[in-house]
């Protein structure tokens, strides 16, 4: 099989001209890039603004109960996880039984009060800030994308695997390809004809996409996307055949995690994955304890998906290669509102999970005393104030897990002691 390989960058787009059946060259490339490290990162977006105080409950703080008359979770129900370095006792949401087991195995870290100065209360700005890792100018490229851009070029088109339909800003950077695969089964090439004629169409489609008109940046961008799709079809098809060692929940989040495990099991060479589960914007009827309560359902989705993923990877022997890191665009207000929900707040909790994670509680819980001078709160005592800058968490992942240089990727030195979770 002959393959032309001509990579160049124009207008921020990488373009390859590749033969129709590219996988041989690409999988060589994938193998060489994966060989440098078999470690991978799974970024989990809890979109909508997760209520950290319901996920990790300060169940000995009397103000937690007085400020949340209907939403506070009774102390007797929480899953106790011990005390943090300030001596405050904490408990996981009662529905997180699987995560508590992983915590007890020492493979789950909970990082408290993560955020940044002047936290945005806008979903859209907040999400962009977390993904760009840049509170002052959250656009252009994302923190994971900038890390990938430091790897030797050209990057394999399957280096970054997004399980949602839209490419997350966090993965974007000039010359970094991202494969977006919301559904394994529909990630295929179909044709109005069959047999040899269908193959001729696929060959023609690949050739058409190989022309990247430098004077037409929009067509060039879409053409590059087509190239990425055609170059990854066959390897993605191999992932679709993956039979997991246990049943994943039959929801979007569970299926996305199963696809990630499949990609790892088949060794397709992906280094970073993006998964998402939403519904955290609990302005009304948040119900943290009812059988079918809104927040209980959120925790069920989270717990059951992550637990299946963890156990499947353990069965595959891939746990030590995988780090999962969750974030959300902001936490929520401490006082519940009149709709038995919570409005947009500030700092919240992050989760790290994996075979190499040093489990435990990191950072300190806020005191919820409604005092404008309370240093662990902000906004006149209404919201949780950050203790750890989110970029410090990213820096730890970039430096100590991915083997990158966080100062270059984040545009500054955010390294700090006290959160050595990996």
């Amino acid at each position: 099989m002959s393959i032309t390989r001509r990579a160049f960058i124009k207008n921020g787009v990488t373009a390859f001209t590749v033969g129709v059946t590219a996988p041989a060259f690409l999988s060589d490339l994938a193998r060489s890039q994966a060989a440098s490290s078999s470690r991978n990162l799974v970024v989990l977006d809890l979109s909508g603004g997760n209520d950290g105080l319901s996920l990790l409950v300060p169940y000995t703080d009397a103000f937690y109960y007085s400020r949340r008359p209907t939403l506070a979770i009774p102390a007797g129900l929480v899953l106790q996880v011990g005390t943090d370095v300030s001596g405050k006792a904490l408990g996981l949401h009662p529905r997180l039984t699987g995560l508590r087991d992983i915590f007890n195995q020492g493979r789950l870290a909970l990082i408290q009060r993560v955020g940044y100065e002047n936290s945005s209360r806008s979903h859209f700005s907040g999400t962009d800030i977390w993904e760009a890792a840049n509170p002052s100018n959250p656009q252009g490229s994302g923190w994971v994308g900038r890390y990938l851009a430091t790897l030797p070029a050209p990057l394999d088109p399957l280096i970054a695997w997004n399980t949602t339909g839209e490419t997350p800003l966090a993965f974007q950077a000039s010359s970094v390809p991202v494969a977006s695969i919301p559904s394994l089964s529909s990630y295929a090439f179909s044709s109005p004809n069959s047999g040899a004629e269908a193959a001729r169409e696929r060959a023609a489609a690949a050739s058409i996409a190989s022309h990247v008109p430098i004077d037409r940046p929009q067509v060039a961008f879409v053409g590059t996307t087509v190239q990425g799709a055609l170059a990854t079809l066959d390897r993605v098809a191999s992932v679709a055949t993956y039979k997991p060692s246990l049943a994943y929940p039959n929801n979007g989040f569970g299926q996305a995690l199963q696809a990630v495990a499949g990609a790892l099991a088949q060794g397709v060479g992906t280094k970073v994955f993006w998964v998402q589960t939403g519904g955290f914007d609990t302005h009304a009827s948040q119900d943290t304890t009812g059988d079918n309560g809104a927040y209980v359902r959120l925790m069920a989705t989270l717990n059951d998906g992550l637990t299946a993923f963890y156990n499947d990877l353990r069965n595959l022997g891939l746990l030590n290669d995988t780090l999962l890191l969750s974030f959300s665009e902001f936490g929520r207000r401490i006082n519940e509102n009149g709709s038995r929900g919570t409005d947009h707040g500030a700092a919240s909790v992050m989760i790290a999970m994996g075979g190499a994670v040093r489990g435990g509680l990191y950072g300190t819980a806020p005191s919820l005393a409604p005092d404008p001078q309370n240093p662990t709160l902000e906004n006149s005592g209404n919201d949780v104030h950050y203790e750890t800058d989110f970029r410090t968490v990213y820096a730890r992942v970039i430096d100590n897990w991915l083997g990158g240089d966080s100062v270059a990727v984040l545009g500054g030195n955010f390294r700090k002691s006290g959160i050595e979770f990996v």
């Binding site: 977006s180 109005p192 996409a209 067509v219 996307t225 799709a229 929900g341």
Partner: protein, 484 residues
């Protein structure tokens, strides 16, 4: 193709969803100015599109049981797609889509609160067909598509679907609800950076008591949903903002008796609609929709549009008219540079490829994979536009939709192509005259190579039935076709 035709086609792609061969022929007899007038003055054209659903000659619909666009959301989606394909008022549908993205409201949350049939009513019901005369949000946008933003903001603030979507139904004086007040300023008017957190708290208090009234039981066929001002839930103290509320520059809405407190919201909406920040933001959104998302607008042009908006009492129609008549819009350099939205892509592909024997039901699944589920935008900020529409997965969905459509239209395409059966090049030229696309020589050469590949050309029906759909698939699925 003559330049005049190219400009009319550009206008129809941007102000509408492209044109079928018949529509193009009809518009091509008009001057550019007359074509703009015909699109803008659409109320002069009787709106008969819904009566054509189910008639021969039009795209079909697929539903379980009777077609029920007022109570079944997938049927509502199909009715809207049908309108986009066949309406003689394309700009009305195009602006309705604009407002659906601008005031992005998600059906799913509403269905979770009031059940699926009533949520469909609140989003899509035609009042003339609803047992209680309920008007769905999208019907409201259709009615007010080129009206004033001030009227739209007020209608949206009192729209039952919006009251549920942004929790206005629970906004009370004891616990003001911030959701609507925040998005009103962030997304519907001034924009990020032009309001403060304390403005959000003040706006929440302004709208205390702007609630939802439900008459009748949700388990009955026709409860009515309506806006109600609950005076006893209104917080009556003064509300101060960081920006002017009144023409004299005053930033404080005065304390008022609860019985008169609804005026707070009217004052705030009137103020927000007529702020220069809002005018520029709306002008910039319309520029992005109609002219270019990638060429930053000339600030002078935005200021000109903003002035037109303010001088016309926040009316949208004169702004849109000014855009279509501007040199910026008519510049050939902006043609084929805007990334098409998934619904724009599928509707244009259908209008240009053909629809006899095809159904809007076949579009619903692919649209979701392409990233645009009508009536269910991802969040209140609407869809991420431009490049964000294109990922490898969503692009494959577009390519595969092209395959489904071409396969379905195989015989129609082959029959139409018989006029061009002498050579593969003639068949290609025929398809390129029908599918609006601007392909360069390299792509043309690939298409021609495919047309001639694997056979000795005879131009038989059998060969046309292979190559005409094959070419349509490749063209509609190409990068070049994804821009409008």
């Amino acid at each position: 193709m003559a330049n005049g035709d190219a400009l009319i086609q550009h206008l129809l792609r941007r102000a509408g969803f492209g044109a079928s061969p018949d529509e193009l022929a009809a518009y091509s007899t008009l001057s550019y100015q007359d074509a703009v007038d015909r699109l803008l003055d659409y109320t002069a054209i009787i709106d008969t599109v819904d009566s054509k659903i189910g008639q021969p000659g039009y795209i079909g619909t697929t539903s379980r049981g009777a077609f029920s666009p007022n109570t079944v959301i997938d049927d509502a989606r199909q009715r809207w797609l049908f309108r986009m394909i066949h309406s003689e008022r394309p700009l009305q549908e195009k602006m309705t889509l604009f407002w659906h993205n601008y005031f992005a409201t998600g059906y799913s949350k509403i269905a979770g609160k009031v059940t699926a049939p009533h949520a469909t009513r609140l989003m899509a019901a035609k009042p003339s067909e609803d047992p209680a005369g309920q008007r769905g949000q999208i019907e409201m946008f259709r009615d007010m598509a080129l009206g004033s933003l001030r009227d739209l903001l007020l209608a949206v603030a009192q729209d039952p679907a919006m009251l549920i979507w942004l929790d206005g139904d629970t906004n009370t004086k004891a616990k003001p609800q911030e959701n609507f007040g925040r998005e009103l300023m962030e997304l519907f008017s001034r924009g990020v950076g032009y309001y403060t957190e304390s403005d959000v708290y003040a706006a929440a208090r302004v709208f205390t008591g702007w609630n939802l009234k439900i008459d009748g039981s949700l388990s009955s066929a026709s409860p009515t949903f309506s806006f109600v001002y609950n005076a006893n839930q209104h917080e009556t103290s003064a509300k101060t903002f960081s920006f002017p509320i009144y023409p004299d520059g005053s930033t404080t809405i005065p304390a008022r008796a609860a019985s008169a407190g609804m005026q707070d919201g009217l004052d705030l909406i009137t103020a927000l609609a007529s702020h220069p920040e809002t005018a520029r933001r709306v002008a910039t959104k319309l520029y992005g929709y109609f002219v270019s998302e990638t060429i930053p607008p000339d600030p002078a042009f935005i200021n000109q549009l903003a002035s037109i908006y303010l001088q016309n009492g926040t009316a949208i129609k004169p702004v849109v008219q000014a855009i279509f008549l501007s040199p910026q819009f008519q510049d050939p350099a902006v043609s084929y540079t805007r990334y098409s939205w998934p619904v724009e892509f599928v509707v244009r592909a259908i209008k240009e490829t053909g629809w006899q024997g095809f159904t809007t039901g076949a579009v619903l699944g692919p649209l979701v994979t392409m990233g645009q589920h009508l009536y269910d935008p991802p969040d209140v900020a609407g869809w991420d536009l431009g490049r964000a529409w294109f990922s490898s997965g969503s692009m494959l969905a577009r390519m595969n939709f092209a395959a489904v459509l071409a396969s379905n239209q195989k015989f129609n395409l082959a029959r139409a192509a018989t006029v061009a059966r002498s050579t593969p090049r003639d068949v290609l030229e025929f398809l390129l005259s029908r599918l609006s696309v601007d392909v360069g020589p390299a792509v043309y050469s690939d298409l021609l190579g495919y047309a001639a590949a694997g056979l000795t050309w005879t131009g038989s029906d059998a060969q046309l039935q292979i190559k005409a759909p094959g070419l349509a698939h490749l063209i509609v699925g190409s990068a070049d076709y994804q821009v409008i």
